[in-house]
Amino acid sequence: MSKGKKQKKGIKRRMFLKRSGVGIGLMIGGVWLTRNPIRRTIIKTSETLVVPYAGPTSDPLLWLQITPDNNLILHSSKVEMGQGTFTGLAQIVADEMGLPIEKIKVVHAETKAGNLDPFGTGGSMSIASLWVPLREMAATLNLMLLNKAAEKLSVNPDTLRLEGGTITDGSQSLTYGQIVADVTEWDIPSTPPLKKRSEYTYLGKPVPRVDLKEKVMGAPIFGIDAEYPDMLYASVVRSRLIDAQMQNFDTTEAERMPGVIKIYQDEDFIGVIAETHIQAETARKKIKFDYNKNADWSLADIEEKITVGNGNKTIVQKEGPIVEDIDEDAEIIELAFRSSIGAHAQMEPNGAVANYQEGNLEIKVSTQVPQLTQSEVAKAMGMSKKEVNIIPTFLGGGFGRRLHTPNAIQAAKMSKAIGRPVKSFFDRQQEFQNDTFRPPTHHVMKAAVKDGEILGIEHQFASGDTLFNSAMDPGIERVVRADIGSVRGGTIIYDGMPRRATYYHVDLPFATSFWRSLGLLANAFAIESFIDELALKTKQSPVDLRLQYMRDDNPYIVRAKKVLKTCAQKAGYTDEVKDGRAMGIALTIDTGSPCAHVAEVSIVEGSIKIHKVTAVLDCGIAVNPDQVRAQVEGCVCMGISAALYEKMDLKENKLFPINYGSYDMALMRDTPKEIDVVLIEGIDKPGPVGEPPLGPIGAAISNALRRLTGERLTQMPLSAFIS
């Protein structure tokens, strides 16, 4: 019966899940192309689709390693950036394998081990996409252990049963550790049936985070903490200006600085390698250069570009005529909105620690895309992928900032040049200057209204890139054209009337990209503020108005209705302003998870105060409800920060501010004293969690302010417009 690991005869292959590149992009193929209806179908699907897990599933041993001391190491191809994925994965495996969770240690999979996920970590997809494949792998591993135990004990496998880490036939037993001892070849059987949900013990329980102790004790778990013996430190020169080339470098003074070992220079970058971090930074600042600007840019230029009507137009939702053509007696209501350029401001700056030794390269790095990093580094270094091992570390925040990996390449090149390991990190100013920002947006909302009835709604919006950028396969852009990321939350969910959404894709002279929830926050701000305005205009409760136009029996709408009603009821939503406090409500459906917020707001001495947020999320099964709540709380507070304060400015090609403090963010004092999170399980599987709760917050706050002040604020950040 014994066949090598390589001849996996009985494997139930799930090759259809195996794709390279970003799942959604390649699924489309190169043939369908460039017609608007097809793009609309793609976009519609992408609004609710859980992108399937794209990594290997046929060999459980890539994910799950039993150690001789009878513990299990879970090699996760999804990275832990705070979202709690490691804990959820451990719960799922513990349940399916019948193991105490304490026996499981979750680590990041090194790329050399082969557990590579081409999608990377993002889009709130980790638990949702691994829910089935990971349980299948765990169940398969159990069966493998059972068969191997039978072989070792020379008994019929049917007489054996599993008991929390041991396999027994009643008289004799083996621990998992004993079973795997000395085994070099495994048979991988077809996937056995999965356990019933009633047999799970950890599912739905608030198990403490598996990384809690390390994070409370200050353990060295992040990329910036990584080290190699004999390591040097590097600092790379980065541009302060956008749309300009640095030129005429003069390194004379830098070379003479204490501790400097080498100034590394190639056609792509220039970096100082020194004995200590501070020496490298100090010397880097002594390198003189000037700029060749391609054009002059200020914020006003950017706003002019980001204006509905400019850029590449795609109609992403087209149901019925434009609002002006619905009824000539109808009144056309129109409002325009804008949102700012946002920085990621994740706490751990980007960087990498590279160790090049005799044709082999190892890189320790906080990244959301280990596989992409491996292939980009290999390409830049002229090495094969096998020679490059990426060792992912815990991330000091991700939020979409770690989907680009030039720092890993730079550290690798410098390590090779100097023949010693090199640690190279951005400083905070460089992080802000060279961020891949949340793009600014502009929105024009229109509705036809007659006799208190809404006859049709239209959303036109302009944005910079979010999805199409250097991290992506360029083929995807040609196919989809409308940036799926920027249009997230951009279509109208209210039904039973003509509705349209038109997207204008604008190229900007600086890098923009994924920022937690991508286009959702801004799109929802525009649409849900406008719906609130329509409720005021037609003298209805904003809850009733929404419900009235959610008539579809499509399951997302049915779930969204329940979420909205629950939220209004739980918050005691009222249109009335009481004791100087007003409420605002908003609703979104993002990646299939409906979410509603009610924000309770007042203005104290000229500043906006959020007293309470009631947040209702239907994410299906909450594998770990405590960590789902933590994500909702985090989204609410990060959303408050973005909605009230955050903005980048641009003058003479310089983006600023370039540090915390001057980049205004919500802190402890801005945090609501009460965040009431209600979770609804509207589907029988885990759905996305990490971004959907960011959707409604900007609009919910703005709607409350509208009721409080009588004025409609149409620009995020909102605090700039309150006096």
Binding site: A219, T276, M347, E348
Partner: protein
């Protein structure tokens, strides 16, 4: 220059440029990585440590000033397995997400509780001004109140 101080109860001497921020001396010179770099400009609190019992943002504190001082970092906040009430409260409330900012917040909280053993919400708003991008502030506030209660139960801490 040679600088000598006590760190987490142990005497240490290190050769360093006296102007170098203490943060990097601690992280790279002494290999205590729990103290984090966030901004380098005293603007985020990730690098908060205690110097003679006072909270200090070590990124903006020249190493030479540490001479002869008593320094505590997150690694020295607990006494062995005996967790500091702040760390216990952080565990009880499951505060960390990514975790990067958390040592700085715990050090700032421990310093606050020494000065104000029973902080009000307003005390917390005014004194805990570090940055957490995962925005775990809501749980931190609960954990700070909890830590105050724990410290009272166990006054030796």
């Amino acid at each position: 220059m040679k600088i000598t101080f006590n760190i987490n109860g142990e005497p240490r001497s290190i050769d360093t440029d006296g102007e170098a921020p203490l943060l990097w001396v601690i992280r790279d010179g002494l290999n205590l990585k729990g103290t984090k770099y966030g901004c380098g400009k005293a603007a985020c609190g990730a690098c908060t440590i205690h110097v003679d019992g006072m909270q200090v943002r070590s990124c903006s504190y020249p190493a030479k000033f540490a001479e002869g001082k008593e320094i505590t970092t997150i690694e020295g906040l607990s006494q062995g397995d005996n967790l500091h009430p702040v760390q216990q409260a952080w565990i009880d409330e499951v505060v960390p997400q990514c975790g990067y900012c958390q040592p700085g917040f715990m050090m700032a909280t421990a310093a606050l509780l020494k000065e104000i053993p029973n902080p009000t919400d307003e005390d917390i708003d005014n004194n805990i001004i570090n940055v957490c991008r995962c925005a775990t502030y809501y749980r931190m506030r609960k954990a700070i109140h909890k830590a105050a209660a724990l410290a009272k139960q166990n006054p030796s801490e």
